[in-house]
């Protein structure tokens, strides 16, 4: 890790100002630091200045508004989210998704905002080689060791997104409030995430002078229930091999609203619209859940070492749908 200068930002506005006045690649925000510091220690990034956002306590909150929307300040920790009784009651998919993320120690530090901005754990990206994602010419995982990599081919890079929270937020149609020099903008979380392209070799769309300030979860349809399932190589403290988040609302026994999101299968969490189209208006039966799960992995193109993810994703999709519908606990 290279030496850096450390300054604090007492507010969102100050953070935007500090970012705006920095040279290109001159500064990065730090909150929990649980991902940023690993990147710095591995010399993947070397920002000359870190702007510590933690003093901006205005960004650490969790509250429901009168319209039933949940507002999550970007500095809210995963532990805050995990332990909030009203969130657990009204949006159980959120605490379910963070419960198996990292460890209690890390969840006490890691913030919701930082969780969405973390970079992939691909061993080529984290290692010494200059892979495509780091500006090189080739993705070494594509023809290398790729057991943890994508089964959907959306980018020259085949790394997967490590967040557990992101699929759950996608399933809840969450939006992000982003502050920049020109004011605030609101962006659906699904548009915030995007597969890396030649121009933007990163998994999110956020300008260098912008601050992710809030995650807003809109009021969910009446009676909606959610489920988040994660498969890991060990019982705790591992990134998802595959994860699935589902949010379902029934009316008169038929599916009125459904979201199904898969994690660990592509560069960014994948909302599976084909499944939503299939299920809307239907009565979910075990048979239909199987069909839906089959459809969820229809486009899968596994690499040499990750074909196992296809049955995993299929099974998690099936079980998440059944669990969210109350057909399976």
């Amino acid at each position: 890790m290279k030496a850096f200068d450390h300054v604090t930002a007492a507010s969102t506005r100050e953070a935007v100002e500090l970012l705006s006045s920095a040279a290109p690649d001159g500064a990065r925000l730090i909150a929990g630091g649980t991902d940023l510091l690993t990147l710095m220690k591995a010399d993947l990034i070397a920002p000359p200045r870190l702007i510590d956002l933690k003093p901006a306590s205005e960004l650490r909150y969790l509250r429901f508004d009168d319209a039933g929307a949940l507002h999550i300040g970007a500095l809210t920790t995963l532990a805050d989210l995990e332990r909030h009784p009203e969130v657990a009651q009204r949006l159980p998919v959120l605490p379910q998704s963070v419960r198996d993320a990292a460890t209690p120690q890390l969840r006490a530090l890691a913030t919701v905002g930082g969780n969405l901005l973390q970079r992939p754990r691909c061993w080529y990206y984290r290692g010494d080689a200059l892979c495509w994602l780091k500006g090189g010419s080739a993705c070494f995982a594509r023809d290398g060791q790729n057991k943890y990599h994508a089964i959907l081919d959306h980018s020259p890079c085949v790394a997967v997104h490590p967040s557990d929270l992101a699929p759950a937020l996608l399933a809840l149609d969450a939006e992000l409030v982003i502050h920049g020099p020109g004011g605030a903008r609101v962006l659906p979380v699904e548009s915030f995430f995007a597969a890396p392209t030649d121009q933007e070799r990163v998994e999110y769309r956020l300008a260098a002078d912008e601050v992710l300030a809030e995650i807003t979860v809109p009021r969910q349809p009446e009676g909606a229930r959610g489920a988040y399932l994660k498969v890991m190589d060990r019982q705790a403290w591992a990134f998802a091999l595959v994860s699935a988040a589902a949010q379902v609302a029934l009316r008169d026994g038929r599916i009125e609203h459904v979201r199904l999101v898969l994690g660990g299968v592509a560069n960014v969490p994948q909302r599976i619209r084909a499944v939503e189209d299939l299920l809307t208006g239907q009565e979910l039966t075990p048979k239909l859940a199987e069909q839906a799960a089959e459809r969820a992995v229809a486009g899968a193109k596994p690499l040499a070492h990750n074909a196992y993810k296809v049955p995993l994703a299929r099974e998690l999709a099936r079980r998440a749908l059944l669990a969210a519908t109350g057909l399976m606990v």
């Binding site: 290398g144 190589d233 060990r234 196992y308 049955p311």
Partner: protein, 734 residues
């Protein structure tokens, strides 16, 4: 040897070092670093095979704070190794794996050393790398050590009886192909240490290791100094598991201190530790087993290939152990096994708890269970009919050393498994509410030598001083024995106190300085209780005898203990007496397999061991439980990924160790005490044994649960799913 009435032997005395380790008061090597010391940073090759065309250190030497940049030309004798001195301290002409070291930067601060290391300009000409052991044996393969003319480090054949005839007459013949992967020791404390030159012109290295006197020998040879001019001291050691047997940084600390005449310090990051120190050997094993209808195993043929990586380390010995155990702990009349140790451009492999025994018996134990199934026989019964007994001939055609307890260990394991796991009873449907969760039970046996093998001049030396007036008041025991966390110091102290008939508090230990304490030999091969313990016992007895006759109120005695001699294996037939003592183990394991995700949970483990005599029962049980944690990782989780000689898993985020939640909820350690003829109070070793039967027992349990056999370690969810889908006739995954 028998001392029937004891009060300290077997007592679960608390560890004197435990409180300090829990509170953080214990001083590990990194805690010895003090202000004013120079800091060292290595420049690693980071490529599997290349010629060094040019090495320019001028920019680094001119960088702020840099005191020196040492390279191969600064090393007086640039080769080291436990057996063959084939590893350069700093590479001068060729680098042979990515953790090879090419330069050592010495600077006033760690940051300055790190910054300057990036300025060392090395021009490489990449050479073709060979990263597969079988490929390394093929004609025309790139040579790791060109001067040797071959990548073959060892070929050892074992021949007994007439396998061709036995296979022809066998009722059942089965073939198997197995592969095991690397394993990282993952000790909690990465390598660190300090070194300085003292007022007597001695270079002093304070660090962690497993054998003070062997570290000293290699460092003295490198610096071309008399051994007495090198002092090695061990601080608190944060785990070893074989991973501190080879020199890692001890010699480089010594080199820098000696050259610069200033105190120096170095501390590796986890990723440096992961790429630079040796690993457990991957093995490729192909074998054929034959048995008669009556359940007599009559023939074993096997080819056992170890990827030794870039340097010799202990590959030769590990491969001999694996070759010896390719037929498990069974007396089989016809054996033909060929063991090969091979150089590649992968990370060097060497000692790791089990030392070749777990890999060989992963194959052997699975084959025995498969044979039983093929014969329609209970796998326990087949084992019972063939297992080693007193007087059985080893594959090397000599009778086993006295004290063969394989059968009583197995019988006890079966008894416990019947009582606790209802082994042998027809199973109800496993988990009625979740048909994708299937449970199964597997049983396997294990054997591992205690102590050094194959003609090694095995010894352990201890010195005991006695002081007092009318009565014996206190004793000082001097023995250079590493306590790597296994509790050796308390064991040795208990033996001394018991033998002298005094309280534990009256015995003090001098153990961690090569200049003060005599050579106990290595804290490895499960040997320290037997070897070091016997040396302490015998020295205590000798000192006590002198004390009785002494007029002064002081007596001392030094004893070098030698166990019964072993012999090298005959190069044509493998014949010989390979070992003087074995540890025997058997385990019953219950697993739950999730057939949808491929995940395997270990629910219960019964681990039965003959330890001869438990000196400290709590520590024996601790060794069994701790070793099982490492065994769970080895069997199911730890997947060290290497691609073209490049380690992809240098972090614990992708090299997954078991967590507390991955441990079986129930572990039942069962300790038998069938005395060893040489061990102090009958004690033999236990440290490695739980790792030997575990992976094949898990494989058998997975088979019992699902009907599929896994033959690759680790048995990851991906592999379980692939095996299940292959069985179900679907396309094979992964």
């Amino acid at each position: 040897m028998s001392t029937p009435k004891t009060h300290l032997i077997g007592a679960s005395l608390p560890r004197p070092d435990a409180l300090g380790k829990v509170t953080g008061a214990a001083r590990y090597p990194a805690d010895l670093i003090r202000p004013g010391m120079l800091h060292l940073q290595l420049v690693f090759a980071q490529r599997p095979h290349a010629r060094i065309v040019a090495l320019d250190t001028s920019a680094a030497e001119g960088a702020p704070g840099v005191a020196a940049v040492l390279t191969a030309k600064d090393v007086p004798y640039n080769a080291h190794g436990l057996i063959d001195a084939d590893q350069p301290a700093l590479c001068g002409d060729v680098v042979r794996f990515e953790g090879d070291k090419v330069a050592l930067v010495v600077a006033e601060s760690k940051e300055q050393a790190e910054a300057a290391a990036k300025l060392v300009a090395v021009t490489y000409e990449d050479l073709p790398a060979v990263t597969d052991a079988r490929a390394a044996l093929a004609a025309g393969a790139p040579l790791v050590h060109a001067e040797l003319g071959t990548n073959l480090l060892l070929h050892i054949p074992i021949r007994k009886g007439d396998t061709a005839r036995a296979f022809a007459e066998a009722a059942v013949v089965l073939e198997g192909a197995f592969s095991t992967s690397w394993q990282e020791h993952a000790f909690l404390q990465p390598e660190a240490g300090i070194a300085y030159v003292d007022e007597q012109e001695r270079v002093v290295i304070e660090t962690a290791g497993q054998w003070l006197h062997e570290d000293r020998r290699q460092i003295a040879a490198m610096l071309q100094l008399p051994e007495e001019q090198v002092i090695v001291r061990y601080a608190a050691i944060g785990g070893a598991f074989g991973g501190r047997e080879d020199l890692s940084m001890q010699h480089l600390l010594a080199l820098a201190a000696w050259k610069l005449r200033r105190p120096v310090a170095m501390q590796w990051k986890r990723e440096e530790s992961m790429i630079a120190h040796h690993k457990r050997h991957p093995f490729d094993i192909r074998c054929r087993w034959g048995a008669t209808r009556e359940g007599r195993i009559t023939a074993v043929e096997a080819e056992v290939i170890a990827d030794g990586g870039a340097y010799a380390s202990t590959s030769v010995e590990v491969t001999k152990v694996a070759t010896l155990f390719a037929s498990g702990c069974y007396e089989i009349p016809n054996i033909s096994v060929d063991g090969y140790a091979v150089y590649t451009n992968n990370v060097p492999c060497g000692a790791f708890r089990g030392f070749g025994a777990p890999q060989a018996q992963f194959a052997a134990e699975i084959m025995v269970t498969r044979l039983a199934h093929a014969l329609g026989m209970d796998p326990v019964e087949l084992r019972r009919r063939n297992i080693y007994r007193e007087g059985s001939l080893e594959p090397t055609q000599q009778p086993l050393p006295e004290g063969v307890s394989a059968l009583p260990v197995l019988e006890r394991c079966v008894e416990e498994a019947r009582a606790r796991l209802r082994y042998g009873e027809p199973r109800e449907s496993d988990v009625p509410s979740a048909p994708h969760l299937r449970r199964g039970i597997g049983i396997a046996c294990g054997i591992k030598n205690v102590g050094y093998s194959f003609g090694y001049q095995e010894q352990s030396t201890a010195k005991v001083h006695l002081y007092g007036k009318a009565e014996l008041e206190r004793a000082v025991v001097l023995i250079g024995a590493a306590d790597v966390g296994q509790g050796a110091h308390l064991i040795l102290r208990q033996i001394a106190a018991e033998t002298l008939g005094i309280a534990l508090e009256q015995v003090s230990m001098v153990t961690d300085d090569s200049g003060e304490a005599p050579n106990a030999g290595s804290a490895s091969a499960s040997r320290m209780t037997l070897m070091g313990g016997r040396a302490v016992h015998d020295a205590a007895l000798a000192a006590r005898a002198k004390w009785s006759a002494a007029e002064e109120y002081e007596a001392e005695a030094e004893v070098q203990f030698h166990p019964p001699a072993t012999t090298p294996l005959d190069p044509m037939s493998g014949a010989g007496r390979p070992n003087y003592c074995y540890g025997y183990a058997a385990q019953a394991v219950e697993v739950e397999v999730n057939t949808l995700t491929g995940q395997v949970r270990v629910l219960r483990v019964i681990s039965v061991h003959d330890v001869g005599r438990a000196i400290n029962m709590q520590q024996v049980e601790g060794q069994i439980e701790g070793c099982l944690a490492q065994a769970v990782g080895y069997a199911l989780l730890e997947d060290f990924q290497v691609r073209d000689g490049h380690v992809l898993t240098p972090y614990f985020s992708t090299y997954l160790l078991p967590t507390a939640l991955d441990m079986p909820p129930e572990i039942v350690p069962v300790v038998l005490e069938l005395a060893d003829p040489n061990g102090p109070y009958g004690a033999r070793g236990v440290a490695e044994m739980p790792l030997v039967p575990f992976a094949p027992a898990v494989a058998a349990a997975i088979h019992d649960a699902t009907g599929v056999w896994l033959s690759q370690q680790p048995m990851t969810p991906e592999r379980v799913l692939a095996a299940l889908s292959a069985m179900n006739g679907q396309s094979t995954a992964g």
